[in-house]
């Protein structure tokens, strides 16, 4: 008897296609796993059992009719709750949208469904994706499957935790400043932020439009590559003006060796204040692992990266203020009852519909965009963005990818970090990549020596070189599988493995 815990997405799709098991059996197993594990992890805001079983039934019917099945046939997938899927609510983990029924389906969601995936539910997140721990969800917290007393990271914490706990084989998240890579690192799964424009943002509730990018979580690099294929195979989305065609077969060169390719390391980042010793040690081992596979290691400079956090916390709140202005309680969303005037209704709906961090970011953005302040912060921040982008371009003349931490520490305990501006600093390694739009991926290195929590390496690459990024990620994974570095791979978190999910 097989367990979903040990099957990759590719194996599930193959098993369904070959008739080893049906998509319905897979869906049922996934729902069983969710049933028995969810009370401890709380990764979901909504489990879409009906949609899952319907989709699985359709997949099985297609097979019975002799039709060719999609590459994700029967694979249980979870979606961050800022992605629309007709038949589900899309709440963004906010009271503002607590009752919002999706009126259309996001392109990224649709493409996974078109590939045959089974939608098991919508995952928890920081409210409107503002946060790094998923604690700002208006509904409940999500626990880290490796230690339920610790945060799963954020803002896509629910998606990362669902995959780490074996409740879904794949999940989608969105990454504005690290919101895929950081929770992937905290939860010990693979998480990829593709190049800006690679995946359509249509139907994903916007946070920072020039920074947001949708990407997949999986327990294996191959699964993430498979999801990337489904997300991009149809080319640019005509409904997203900023999406671009980058369709390549992400599986094609996945297992090619990295021998002769070059990994860049940024000494300044490896010595950064706040980077814990166990993360630094893990990174050193990862570099050694790549070197032992024949990759060349060089040092590169990113002189302006120290200002990335400042630039980000100018640009992101401004875009957030603008994007969230539409939530006025008129066309949808929380509406304050019994108001006598429109102004009263709008400002009370927004005051009571949004949580603290959502209000903070919007206030900051409204201030930074005001005349005079725009010239002092916003415009210069976009110029600094150019400098950071140029830094990366120069670095990539010397190397194929840059290896750096995904987060300065492993997952912390609930309550250990509460000050918002201190929290902002935890994005120090991921933010710069959103600033310049490049791709990045977080790959598990096993458990860290002190905290015994998952630790990851982050790989960053030039725009639209996401396939090469995956090839490097696979090399690290291979090294970890073979006991190089820390060893241990990326299994379902031990406390959750085996609880339901049997086929």
């Amino acid at each position: 008897m097989a367990s979903l815990d040990s099957l990759s997405a590719a194996q599930i799709a193959a098993g369904v296609a070959q008739g080893d098991f049906t998509a319905t059996e897979v869906a049922q197993a996934a729902l069983d796993a969710i049933d028995s594990r969810e009370k401890d992890v709380q990764a979901f805001l909504q489990v879409s059992a009906d949609l899952a079983l319907e989709a699985a039934k359709r997949t099985d019917a297609r097979r019975a009719a002799g039709e060719k099945l999609g590459p994700l046939a029967g694979v249980p997938v979870a979606f961050k709750d800022n992605m629309h899927l007709v038949g589900t609510r899309t709440t963004c983990a906010s009271k503002m949208l607590a009752n919002y029924d999706s009126v259309f389906t996001a392109t990224c969601v649709q493409r996974l469904l078109d590939a045959g995936a089974t939608p098991v539910g919508k995952t928890n997140m920081d409210e409107f994706a503002f946060g790094s721990t998923t604690e700002s969800s208006a509904f409940h917290r999500t626990n880290n499957p490796w230690d339920t007393g610790r945060v799963p990271g954020g803002s896509s914490g629910g998606s990362a935790a669902a995959v780490a706990a074996g409740e879904a084989t794949l999940a989608l998240g969105s990454d504005t400043g690290g919101s895929i890579r950081q929770p992937a690192s905290f939860c010990g799964v693979v998480g990829m932020k593709p190049t800006y424009g690679a995946v359509s943002r249509y139907g994903v509730v916007a946070f920072g439009s020039s920074l947001d990018q949708v990407g997949p979580f999986g327990r294996r690099v191959e699964d993430v590559a498979l999801a990337m294929n489904a997300l991009t195979a149809e080319g640019a989305d005509p409904l997203d003006s900023t999406s671009q065609n980058c369709a390549v077969d992400f599986l094609e060169h996945l297992d090619d060796p990295v021998e002769g390719l070059t990994v860049g390391v940024v000494p300044q980042l490896m010595e950064a204040k706040g980077l814990s010793q166990e993360v630094r040690d893990a990174l050193t081992a990862a570099v050694a692992s790549l070197a032992s596979q024949g990759a060349r290691v060089v040092e590169v400079e990113l002189p302006n990266i120290a200002s990335a956090i400042a630039a980000y916390y100018v640009i992101a709140p401004c875009e957030a203020f603008s994007n969230l202005a539409r939530f006025d309680g008129v066309r949808y969303g929380y509406q304050e009852p019994d108001c006598q005037t429109l102004a009263e209704q709008t400002s009370l709906s927004r005051a009571h519909g949004f949580g603290e961090e959502a209000k903070r970011r919007q206030m900051l953005g409204a201030y930074l965009l005001s005349s005079g302040v725009y010239e002092k912060y916003y415009y210069p921040a976009q110029q600094v963005r150019t400098l950071i982008t140029q830094d990366y371009a120069r670095a990539y003349q010397k190397c194929d990818v840059i290896l750096l931490p995904s987060a300065p520490t492993t997952a912390w305990r609930f309550g250990d970090v509460s000050d918002p501006t201190q929290m902002y600093a935890s994005d120090m390694f991921t933010i710069s990549n959103n600033i310049c739009g490049n791709g990045g991926i977080s790959v598990p290195l096993g458990l860290a020596t002190q905290s015994h929590m998952p630790v990851s390496a982050q790989l960053q690459g030039p725009a639209f070189s996401d396939r090469r990024l995956l090839r490097f990620a696979r090399a690290i994974e291979r090294g970890v599988d073979q006991g190089l570095g820390l060893g241990g791979g990326a299994p379902v978190a031990p406390d959750f493995a085996g609880r339901g999910g049997d086929l």
């Binding site: 009752n99 029924d101 009126v103 800006y196 424009g197 020039s210 920074l211 005509p238 900023t242 671009q244 120290a306 200002s307 956090i309 400042a310 630039a311 916390y313 100018v314 203020f321 202005a325 006025d328 008129v330 066309r331 949808y332 969303g333 509406q335 006598q340 005037t341 429109l342 102004a343 009263e344 209704q345 400002s347 927004r350 005051a351 903070r360 919007q362 206030m363 900051l364 409204a366 201030y367 930074l368 005001s370 002092k376 912060y377 415009y379 210069p380 921040a381 976009q382 110029q383 600094v384 963005r385 150019t386 400098l387 982008t389 918002p420 501006t421 902002y424 310049c436 739009g437 725009a463």
Partner: protein, 105 residues
């Protein structure tokens, strides 16, 4: 120059976020801390540096065709109004825009 509570109250008024007095106080503290974090931006000499408003290389001139396509996105009336807090016939409804004030828009 630090933001005063009055400044923050004005921003809240503009952003249509009602704040209680204690929220206003906390928000003022937060805003000043957050703005301090942004200081590095003001230390650059950025003469002649082009801003990057769109991180997408040389993507430009993206346009769609002028063709009615009801099937792609159009919403039937019941779906369009479905999530609204208050409606009237086929309309979205809002309470009095001016209240008792005399000023016209």
């Amino acid at each position: 120059m630090a933001l005063s509570q009055d400044d923050v109250a004005q921003i809240a008024d503009y952003a249509r976020i009602a704040l209680t007095p204690s929220e206003l106080e906390q928000m003022t503290t937060y805003m000043n801390e957050a703005v301090d974090l942004l200081e590095p931006i003001t230390h650059y000499d950025l003469d002649g540096v082009e801003p990057t408003f769109h991180p997408i290389g040389d993507l430009s001139n993206v346009m769609g065709e002028d063709v009615v396509d009801d099937s792609v996105r159009a919403l039937p009336i019941d779906v369009a109004l479905h999530n609204a807090g208050s409606t009237h016939d086929r309309y979205f409804r809002v309470p009095s825009i001016l209240g008792d004030s005399e000023e016209d828009f």
